[in-house]
Amino acid sequence: MIAAHFPVLQVVLPLAAAPVCVLLRREVLAWWITLATTWAVLVNAVLLLDRVTTLGPITYALGGWAAPLGIVYRIDALNGAVLLLVSAIAAVLLPYARMSVLREIGAERAALFYAALLLCMTGLMGMAATGDAFNVFVFLEISSLSTYALVAMGQDRRALTAAFQYLIMGTLGGTFILIGIGFMYAATGTLNMADLAARLPLAENQRAVQTAFAFFIVGISLKLALFPLHLWLPNAYTYAPSVVTVFLAATATKVAVYVMLRFTFDVFGVHQVFSNLTVERVFPFLAGLGVILASVSALFQINAKRSFAYSSVGQIGYIVLGIALLSPLGLTAGLLHLFNHALAKGALFMALGCLYYRLGSVSLPALAGAARQMPLTAAAFVVSGLSLIGVPLTAGFISKWYLLRATLEQDQWLLALIIVAGSLLALGYVWRVVEQLYLRPAPTDREAVRDAPWSMLAPTWTLVVANLYFGIDSRLTVGLAGQAMRALLEGAP
């Protein structure tokens, strides 16, 4: 039965398709293969999540070697939803990618680009699916290495230095995670997550367990760009090709958040992490600071892509803030924002990619007056911007609302204030772009441009409509977030 192999297929398919792209070399073939793969993986993820939410968690032993000796994949409501998010974004992005990649990468290197994108997807899906601690590290490095290569394909030469900077910081983060996993193994003699969860509290040397957690949490915080470990992110997002920025902003940091959740709540356990190590005092502080400082930085950028890269750091702050409240409502809010922000930021960066496709730049002066010539792109930008701010009837509102309720439930007035202030700042940096698009006259020396091609507009509007849909009918997202939250709090993975 093929259904039994769903958990592994979503990692194997993109992994197998990547070398095929390299061998075929033809741009059009590579694109079709990538498109088919991402859609197959999406169908797979939908079926898998459906099985998990109705029948309960699935454990899949690779090669038939049972845990704890073999490596297992374990899918529950939480990582089932993360897998769906990654594959859905990839599936929507691929039709969009064709034109954008031809313009920004060129036909001769496009096949290599798609191969790297598939490998990046493999890594992200693997990180989400696996139930083995060392396997997380391996998939993390697969996704990171391909990301460095993808970022370096940007047109600006600063893409190279951005990729190099990301490589240095990413490798340091990855190595910290490796040290953490080493200490976990030294303390318990196992790498299986469920086994680790059972044995870590009983480990003889609790100091080693705490060291493991310290290294692991710093490493993964670097990967998810928690303030102040976010320094690699603005440059990488700004100079990467548009397609890569969309993919990274919507998925990569989100999967890192998932890994952090899995290890803090399941593997180390809430008691260890939050009572013994008082992480609940550090995280809200960093997250709150990140929301404010990153949002303020976003206000002062000339390049629109860079502005929204800083905004991403702030939005990661929101997600971590919700999680660090440690209440069921806070956790639900954090997870909700993880999905809704992926939708909003994905749509935003897609709209910016459309603008870049026609105008050749996304610095604010270059965008002046573009709304009259590219009305659909500009409108997509406005709606996804509203979702980012958190205006009612958009997905962003739902998660901000849950975040506010979660803070007020605990009488955390300062954090509630930070959430509102962050939204006001978001209004500011979204407005700066809208003002350029709609209110400034177009420069006279610019040639008339048409709206972006349909193959790019349709995926952008798909995400925009998703933002509106999940803002009005939140049953699906809230239900999933609630189920994922219960999967986390119920303990062992």
């Binding site: 230095t161 490798t171 080493g182």
Partner: protein
């Protein structure tokens, strides 16, 4: 544990700090990568020393041997070494392309050129 017993850990810590310092302090991109390699290697040593069992031999069943070193950390680190090689290769490629684009591999000089753009 006695001091000689802790010796591998001291080596790990010293190597780790040397590597980390090189990554932070040097402006030359190649030296940064060498530092990164030393940093990674120290973690490899941490794993390898962890798997060593006193008097243990290679984990191959043979008559006359009953104590074996733990092979699992060694196998894990083979994977990590491959990751390290891939990282170094990619970094070296990036350095070549940066040299092509900027004509230098000194960080200060690169920043200076970009700000003047």
């Amino acid at each position: 544990m006695t001091l000689p017993g802790l010796f591998p850990y001291w080596v790990v810590i010293v190597l780790m700090m040397i590597g980390f310092y090189m990554v932070i302090a040097h402006g030359n991109l190649v030296l940064k990568i060498i530092g990164l390699n030393i940093f990674q290697t120290s973690v490899f040593l941490l794993y390898i020393s962890m798997g060593k069992v006193n008097g243990g031999t290679a984990p191959i069943i043979a008559s006359g041997f009953s104590t074996y070193s733990n092979p699992l950390p060694h196998v894990l680190i083979l994977t990590a070494i491959v990751v390290g090689i891939a990282t170094t290769a990619l970094a070296a490629t990036l350095i070549i392309r940066i040299h092509g684009a900027y004509g230098t591999i000194e960080e200060d000089e690169i920043h200076r050129q970009d700000n003047s753009l």
